[in-house]
Structure formats: C-alpha cells, structure tokens
Amino acid sequence: MLYVELLAQGLVQGSIYALVAVGLTLVYGLLRILHVAHAGLFTLGGYIGVLVTNATGSLLLALVVSMLVVGLLGMAIYRLCYQPILDKPPYVALIASIGLFIAMEEIYRIAFGPYGISYENPPLQDVVHIFGITLRLGEVAVGIGTLVLIGALALFASKTRFGTVWRATVTDPEMAESFGVDIIKVRYLNFFIGSALAAVAGVMVALLNNLVEPTMGSVPSYKALAIIVLGGLGDVRGTLLAALALGVIEAYGTIYLGNYLDRDAIAFAFLILVLMVRPQGLFGRA
C-alpha cells in the first residue's frame, strides 16, 4: 500500500507543479520569455485564497476571486512589464521578470507580514480512505480540481476554433498573424489563463500546508523552470507529463533517498539525468 500511497501523493504534488508550470510554458512558447514572476502570482493566489476564505468562509468563492484577480494581474504584468521590452534581447525580459518577482515577495512581506498567514478554520482537512489508501480531502480536491481544469483547458484548446488558433499562435505567432489572428489578444488570454491556474495552485498549496508566506513561490519558481525544460520548452502536454513525473519521482525519492538527498535535490538530480540523455526534454523532438 505504501507504493500506491506514494504514487497518489506524488500525483497530487505533480498536479500542483503542473498548474504552475503550464502558465510558464505558455508564456515561453508565445514570447520566448522565462516568466519568473509567475511564481509571485502563485504566491498571491495563496494569499487571496486564505484572506477571502477567512473573510467569507467560502473556499470556492476564494478560489474564484483568486483566479480572477491573479489572472487580471498577469495580464497587467504582460502589458506593463513585458510588452514595452519585447523588441529587446530575451535576457532583458528575464532580468525584469526576476526583479519583479523579488519586488513581489517584498510587497507581500510588507503587506501581509513576514511570518505568513493561515486559514482560521482550515477547510477540507478530513481524512478519507479510498482504494485502501488514506488521503486528506484537500489532497483529493487538488487531484480532482487539476483534472477538471486541465481537462477543460485541453477541450478548449483542441475542440474550439479559437483554441486551435491559440495553439497555432504559440508555435508561430508571425504566421498566425498572417491569417488574421490578433496576437495581442492571444497574449492577454495566455497570461490570464496561465496566471489563473497558478492562482489555483497557490490556493491549494495554502490549503495543504495551511500556510502562505512571502517566499512561498521561490521553490516552485525554479522547479517550474526545470519542469518546462523537461517537458520541452513551450510544449504544454510535455510540461504536464513532466510535472506529474517529477511529483512522483520526488515522492518515491524522499522515501528511498531521503537520507542522502532532500526533495529539491532529488528533483534537480532527475532534471540533470534526463537532460544528459535527452537534451531536447523528455518528450521533445530531436
């Protein structure tokens, strides 16, 4: 049963990575920018989740508010931070993004205090037994929530006309524009969806740890970068699979290698190993 339980926990952790990394890979695909500040939006998602839940008692409302606010803020970051420097070399945007991320952490520290905040009545903490394994309701919610959101996104991207155009734009914006696509609109949509998904991840991590602190985004920020490299930069399906794989590897790794390497070291050892064998990422074409 330990194996199955570890698998389940790995998938839950992987789901969270997936929600964060999808937005990152979308931005990379569209703009060739490593959007480090994305992790700052993840943290903000957590803060809004806790604050709104504490104020209203509704986690669901908190989730919706968090997605909307963070989604809009993601659009604003595109407009104010990235759009003006798109014609500069990519490292300019990278530096701007890192600067923004640090500033966001400091703003959270000033606004919400250095020690973090918690749910007053943490929701979804009950324990459930399914298929002989024990999980917290929150973990089940993370798994199901991710499945529903990513499923909806996949349906939109593959079954609708605008979804098709969106995927086309991510692979070749100039050609997409040649056929009448307003790529600025696609970029806004991209930032909204990616940021809203990161907000969901933030709310969920806040739920699982019952804590949101200013630096909550720092580990996910570099781990998500590792994941999108593993997934083949800009490749959404690859990113999702890489995120789940990393979650599972970490779960098993902490049990079997935990005495030698900590969780994050295992993740990066995995990244290094994979890139030695497959420099184009796990699923990328050579």
């Binding site: 006309r161 098709t164 155009v165 692979t171 524009e177 040649s178 056929f179 009448g180 696509v181």
Partner: protein, 239 residues
Amino acid sequence: MLQLKNIDCGYGVFQAVHDLSFSIETGQVFALLGPNGAGKSSTIMSIAGHVKLFAGSIHFDGEDISSLPARERVKKGIAVAPEGRRLFPDLTIEENLTVGGYSKPKGKEAVNRDMVFSLFPRLTERLKQPAGTLSGGEQQMLAIGRAMMAEPRLLMIDEVSLGLMPKMVDVCYNAIHHLKSQGVTILLVEQNTKRALDVADQVCVLESGNAVWQGSAADAKKDPDLIEAFLGMTKESAA
C-alpha cells in the same frame, strides 16, 4: 491590383531591398526571380506585412496598405505560403486549414476546405495527421491550401518547388494553373526558372536587393543574355 512604389525594406538597420517598384495586374502570375539572398523573400514578407518598410509604399486595390498590420492585410485579400512552408507542425492538416481560414467567418470554413481538397485531394487522406509529419510535397500543398482558406485575391508563394520531387512539383504547378484560371492573382518566387517562366505573365529579376530586369515572361524567354546572367540557366533548357 498590387503596386510597389520605390520600396526599401529590411531588418533592423540592414536593408535587404533597395528602391524596388513593380505592379501586378489582376489575374496575372508574377514571378520574382534571382539568386540566393537577392531579397525575394524579404519582398514577399514586406507585402504580407512582416518585414519593415523603410521607404516607399505598397498599394493594394488602389489603397495604401503600407502601414496596415499583417492581420489586416489578409482581410484585404493577401495570403502567403511562405518560404520553408512554416506550417503549424503540431496541428493536424484540418487544424492548419482552420487557422488559415480564421480571417473569414466560421461558416465559410467547410466550403473553403472542400475547395482546398478538390485542389489537393491527397490532403483528405490524412486529415488528422500533424503537419510536422507530412512529406515535403504534402507540406507545400498544405501551405498553399492554408493560404487559400483566406480566400485571397493575391496569393504569394515563396519557393514553390524547392526540395520537392518532380511529381510533386507538377501537382503544385497544376494547382497554380488552376487557381490562375479561377482568376486568382499570384506572386511566386521560384528557383526553377523554366517552371516559373512557363506559368508567369510578368517577371522581375532581383539581385542584391535591386531589380535588374523587369518585363514579360515571353521577353524573358527571348532574352538569352538575361537568362545567362541572372537566372543561371543554359540557353538550351530555356528553349
């Protein structure tokens, strides 16, 4: 239908095309010829709205489109099958066509798709296949088909036959002849000069970003020196 007036265009500070002027009449096939690096692709992409115009103007149907963004130009009726095809590799044939028709109402998609399939029946066999896995010839068909989804009145095709087997070249030229007979105006870039001269009405030869010869395809065929000098063909094969 299309007039280029003294255009200079290029990338950043680099100027690829100098003081180029030509016009294309409705229903004509216009061939842009010249050696590698002459500026043929740059010219096409500046008409499409992707390469920056430094000076001069581009008029389409009498309207100055020089400052229109690319997505507005396709709505005016200009579509491109660019150099290297630049299909959306992860999208299927069907989806590539959907994107091609994005500037038209959704209701026109099915009709236009059928039109493309009657032009290139081979595409129907592989509707769900990702474009990246198609053969070179199929990719060129799809690139032309994708452009046709926009119902262009001016179709621009860069490097029609580059890298294709002779049979595939025939398929593409048959399509070009058919489109011409339907009244579509066509601007093409071609390495295979003989092929181009066979289908073209007018020719412009570019070299190092300058137009060095312009005239009718019939005259181009009659002028062996020109063909020697610029088109790298022997007199025999042109005859």
